[in-house]
Assembly symmetry: D2
Homo-oligomer: 335 residues x 4
C-alpha cells in the first residue's frame, strides 16, 4: 500500500512510499483510509522538523475517515463495512484529561499519522462516522470539529443569546461559527479580507470585524456588544493577540486557547483578566465520548462543514501549499 513519509524538514522532504498493509492484532481493526483533512499543526511540524523526535520517516496528519476492512480478535464494537473516524487522543475515552503517556497518545505524533491507505488501530480509538456526511466531510471532525465542540459545547456551555468571537476563516473558525449559530449564539468573525468577510456573512456571521490594525478588533467587539464584551472567544493565534481577547471578554467570559498561529508564548494583562474573572481554557481536542456526541449532533442538526478544496492522495504537497495560502475552510486529501 502507499503511505506518505516525512523524511526531514520541509515540504521537499515528503516521499510517497510503498509499505506492507498492516495486520490487526487483538482488539484491533483494519481501516481503509478514505479521506484525511489537514490541520495547521501538520504544516507547522513539517516546516519545523517537528516529526524528527518521533523517528523518521514518519507518516503525518491526524484526521481520518474510512471504513472497516477487517476485524481482529476480541472486537465487538465494529463490523466490516462500518464507516469510522478516529479519536485524535487515542485511548482517551471520557472524563478528565489523562497524562500523555503509555495509555494516551495523539495521531500524527507520537502515534503514526493518518496519511496512508490502511491502518491497523484499536477499535476503542474509533467512532462511527456521521451517516449524513461524506468521507471528506467526516474527516474534518476528529481535530477541527471536536476542538470546536469541546470548546463551545462540552466545556464552554455556550447558551443561546451569548456572543462568540471566532478568529479568521480557517476550517476550525468556520466550523465554530456554524456550530455557535446553530445553538442560537451571535458570532463575530475577525478577518483581514473583505472577500472572506462577505463569505463569513453568507455562512451566518452576525458581525465581521477587521483585524488589520492590531488590537483594534477588541474595541469593535466591545462596541458591537454595547460595552459588555464577548462571552466566548476562540483564540487560535496566541502571542499578544491573547491581550486583545482578554480586552474583548465579558465578565465571567471564556477564552478557549486552541492554537499557536502567532506565537508559542501567550501574553495577557493580568489586571483586566482578574477584574473580569476571565477563564483561559487551553484545549487539546477532546475525548471519544465527546466525538460520539458530536457525531450525533451532526446527524441531528444537519451541520455542514466548510471545505475549501479537495486533493487526490498523490497531491498531498499541493494540499499543503493550499493550506499555507490561508484557505476558507478545510483542505482535504481523498483517496
Amino acid at each position: 500500500m502507499k503511505t506518505w513519509h516525512v523524511t526531514g524538514p520541509g515540504i521537499e522532504s515528503l516521499r510517497l512510499a510503498e509499505v506492507d498493509v498492516p495486520i490487526p492484532g487483538w482488539g484491533e481493526v483494519l481501516v481503509r483510509v478514505d479521506a484525511v483533512s489537514l490541520n495547521y499543526r501538520d504544516q507547522l511540524l513539517i516546516a519545523n522538523d517537528g516529526y524528527a523526535r518521533f523517528g523518521l520517516p514518519f507518516t503525518p496528519c491526524s484526521d481520518m475517515a474510512g471504513s472497516i476492512e477487517a476485524v481482529g480478535q476480541g472486537v465487538s464494537r465494529f463490523a466490516v463495512g462500518d464507516r469510522v473516524i478516529n479519536n485524535f487522543n487515542g485511548g482517551w475515552i471520557d472524563g478528565n484529561p489523562p497524562r500523555r503517556d503509555g495509555e494516551i497518545a495523539s495521531f500524527g505524533g507520537p502515534l503514526p499519522g493518518t496519511l496512508t491507505e490502511y491502518m491497523a488501530l484499536p477499535a476503542e480509538w474509533l467512532v462511527k462516522a456521521p451517516s449524513s456526511w461524506s468521507d471528506a466531510q467526516a474527516s474534518t471532525l476528529p481535530c477541527t470539529g471536536l476542538t470546536a465542540w469541546m470548546s463551545l459545547i462540552e466545556i464552554g456551555r455556550l447558551m443561546p443569546g451569548q456572543t462568540v468571537v471566532v478568529q479568521g476563516t480557517g476550517g476550525f473558525s468556520l466550523f465554530a461559527l456554524e456550530l455557535a449559530r446553530r445553538v442560537g449564539a451571535e458570532v463575530i468573525v475577525t478577518t483581514t479580507s473583505a472577500t472572506k468577510a462577505e463569505r463569513a456573512y453568507a455562512l451566518g456571521a452576525t458581525h465581521v470585524v477587521d483585524r488589520n490594525d492590531g488590537s483594534k478588533w477588541a474595541e469593535q467587539v466591545k462596541a458591537i456588544t454595547k460595552g459588555r464584551g464577548a462571552d466566548h472567544i476562540l483564540e487560535v493565534a496566541g502571542g499578544r493577540n491573547l491581550e486583545s481577547s482578554v480586552a474583548a471578554l465579558a465578565p465571567g467570559g471564556h477564552i478557549s486557547l486552541v492554537g499557536v498561529i502567532e506565537s508559542f508564548d501567550s501574553t495577557f494583562p493580568s489586571v483586566p483578566a482578574i477584574h473580569s474573572f476571565a477563564t483561559i481554557q487551553a484545549i487539546y481536542v477532546g475525548h471519544r465520548a465527546g466525538l460520539e456526541r458530536l457525531v450525533r449532533a451532526v446527524d441531528t442538526c444537519g451541520l455542514s462543514p466548510t471545505i475549501d478544496s479537495e486533493f487526490d492522495f498523490a497531491e498531498f504537497p499541493h494540499a499543503l501549499a493550499r493550506l499555507q495560502q490561508g484557505p476558507f475552510g478545510k483542505v482535504v486529501v481523498r483517496r
Copy 2:
C-alpha cells in the same frame, strides 16, 4: 384602578375590585401591567382555596409584562417608558436557590399577584422585556419561559443531538419544544390528541407519541432512541408518571420535575433510577440573571411562544375556563 380579587374557593369567588393606584417607595417603580399569562398553578390555587393562607381577598397570577409609569427614589435601573417583565422569585438575583423567607418570595402568593392594572415593585425584581416580542408574548416568560430555560439550558446543559421529551402541549411544554429544537435537540412530544399531535409536528417535534395507554409512552421513547432513552425529560405530571419518565431515561439522563398535574406525590422505582444514574431535579422557576439571559436569547434567536388565546382583562374567568380545557400553548389576559 381595577384589580382581580380571589375572595374564597373556586372561580365563582372572583371579583373585579376597585382599589387605589399604589405609590412606589424607595427603590421601587410603578408598573402599568399590560399583559398577564396564566399558569396551571393559578387554576390549582383558585380551585383549592390555596390563596386563603395568604389572606383574602388576594390578587392572583404570577406573570406580567408592562411598562414603567413612574420611578421611586434610589432607582437607576429603569426609566419611565421601559418595557419590563417580573422575576417570579422576587429578590432572587442569581446563584443558588435561597430560602423562601424574608428576602425572597414568589408572585401570586405569598407576594400579591399580577392581575391588576398597576403595581409598585422593587426595581430589582424586574428585567427589560424582549424588544422583539409583544406584551402578550413577553408575559409568558417569567414562569413558563424561565422554567423551560432553567430546566434545559442553565441546569440541564442541553446539547445539540440530545433527545428531549416534553409531556403534553401546554404553554410550558410547547416553549420547551421550541427552545430544545432551536439548540439542535430532538424532541419527542407525548399527547393524547391526534389533532394536537399534528400541531406539535408543525411546531418542529421530531416525534409524537401517544400517552393514552399509561406507561407505554416510555417504551415508545426507548424504541425511537434505539434503546438508549431520552437525555432530558420535562416532567409536568408527577405521580406515577414519574415512573415512566425514569423508564424512558438514558444513562446519566436528567428529569426536570416542574409540575404536579397528576398528583402531589411522586413515585418512581429506585433500582432503574440507580442503574441509570438518574437525576431528578425539582425546579421552581429561576433567578433574575437567568431571566435576563433568556430575554437576550429571545431577541437573538427569534423564538416565538405559542399563544393559544388572548382575553380582555375583564374576561379573566373565561381565560381560566379556557385553561381548564387544555389549551395548545399559553392563555393570556390583556389590558
Copy 3:
C-alpha cells in the same frame, strides 16, 4: 481453587465449590483475592433468588482486594505483586455513566462475583490498592467507599461548613460520616439504637437523631440546622423515607439515592421538592477515575473505614448472618 456458589434462593443454597484456576487472556491479569467485603445488595440478591437471571450456580459479591499473580499479553498497567482492588462497574473508565450492556457491567451480577480465590480480569478494570490500608480495609472501597466518594465529593461537591445527613450506621453511612467530617462538614446520623448513637459520636458525628418515630427525624434536622435543612442527604432506605429526606433538605440541597433498604419504590411530595429546588441523584457506585482519586485521598488523608467484623473465607454464611443483624460498619471475608 475454592469458590462460593449460589445455587438457588436463600442462604441455605450456598455451596463452597472446587473449580479450576482461570487463565488470563489478552489484556487480562490473574488476581489472588485476599479480602471481600459484603454489601446489602449481596444479601438482597441471595434472599430473593436474584442471581438466577445471571445463570446458576453463580459466584456472589462485588468487592475485592487482592494481588496480581500473573500478567497476560498486552498488559502494561500492572506487574506481578501489585496490590489491587476492582472497579465495580467493570469497563467504566471515566465521565458520563455508560449504557449497561456489552462494554460495561457490574461485579456480582451480571459479571461473576468476587467470592473466589482467583479471578482473571481485564487489567483495565482494576486500580492499585491504597498503600496505607490492609486488604480487609481496601476491600471496602469498590462499592461502599466509591459510592460515598461519588455522592459527596465528585457529584455532590461537598464544601466545608455544609451539613450532611447519613442514615443508620452500616458500612456505607459510617464511611460517608468519616469522609464528610474529614472535609469539614457537619454530619447528622440517624439511628434507632442508643449504643450506636454513642459509637457514632465517637467517630465524629456532630449530632445523632433518633429515627424510631417515623418522619420525625426530618424535624430534628431542621431544628439542628436552625430551620435551614441539610445540604446533602445520603438516602439508603428509599420508600417513604425519601419524603423525610425531602422535608429535611436545605434549598438547593442534594439527596443521593443509593439504597433500597425500605422499598423498591420511592415516593416524595413534589411541592416541597420543587420549592427547595431539590436534586435527587441516583447513584450506582462510580467509575475507575473516581476510584483512583479515592485511593489517593485515602493515602493522603489517613481515612480509616469502620470494620464491624471479619470472617474466614469458609465462614461466608456466618458473615452474611452478621450482615443481617445490622452491623456497625463493614463485614469482611478474608482468605
Copy 4:
C-alpha cells in the same frame, strides 16, 4: 470621627483626618469599624498613586470587621450589635461575575475604603462575622479569605488527595494552605526563606520548595508528585512565574490567577498549556453567598488565620511598612 486619607502618591501622603460620622440612608446601616486587614493591593495603589483616579483625598483599604451601631429604614437583615464583615465586591450577591459598573463596585476603590472609624453601608453588602473569630481574624476574610475560598472550593472544587501549590507565605497563601489541608489536600509551599519554610511546615505544609533559582520550583513540584504535577496552583506573582505554574500543572489542572506581585503582564507557553488542558482562572475575590458559606466553614471547621502582626489605628503607616517587608501572614490594623 477619624479616617485615613491618601492625598497623593506614596506612604508620606497619608493623613489622619477628622470627618463627620456618616448617617445611614434607606437600606443602610452604620458600622463601627473594629479591625482592618491590609492587602498587597493597598500598598500597590498607594505606591503608584492608584487612588488618584477615584478622587483625592481617598480612604484606603478593602477589608473590615466591625459591629452594627445603627440601622436605617428598610433594613431587616441586621440588628444593632451584630458583628459583621464587608463583601469586597459590594452588591455582588451570588452567581456569575457582574459588570463592574453602577450596581457593583469594590471597596478601597472605586468605593471608599474601610480605614475609618465608622461607615454607612447598604445592609446587603455585609455578612455576619464568624462567631468563633476575633475582629482581627474576621477582618482577614473579605479579601484574603474569600479569594482562597473561591479559588480552591467554589470554583476549583478541590478534592481530598489532590495537590495544591501556594506561592510564598503572605496572608493569602497561608490561608489557602490551611484551607487546602483542612479538606485533605497535599500542599506544596514555595518560599525563598529557610525560616519561613520551617514555619510553613509547622502550619501543615506537606512539602516546601525553594524558589530562589527561578523556574526550578516547577521541576521540584513534578518530582514530588512523581511526574504528575499539581492539581491546583494559586498564582500570586504573574509575569513569567506563570510559565512555571503551567509547567508544574497536572493534566486538567487549575491555575487561579489572583495576584500581580511580579508583573502586570502574564506570559506562558501555549503548547504545554494546551497539552495539559490547563485552566487559567483569573479571580477577583468573590460574591456575598461565597463569603457567607466561608463564614459557616470557619465556624464549623475551626480554621485559624495566620496573623503576622497587629497595629493601632493611628499606626497605619507602620503597618504598611511591615507589609512591605514580606510578613508571614496578615497584617491587621485595630481600632
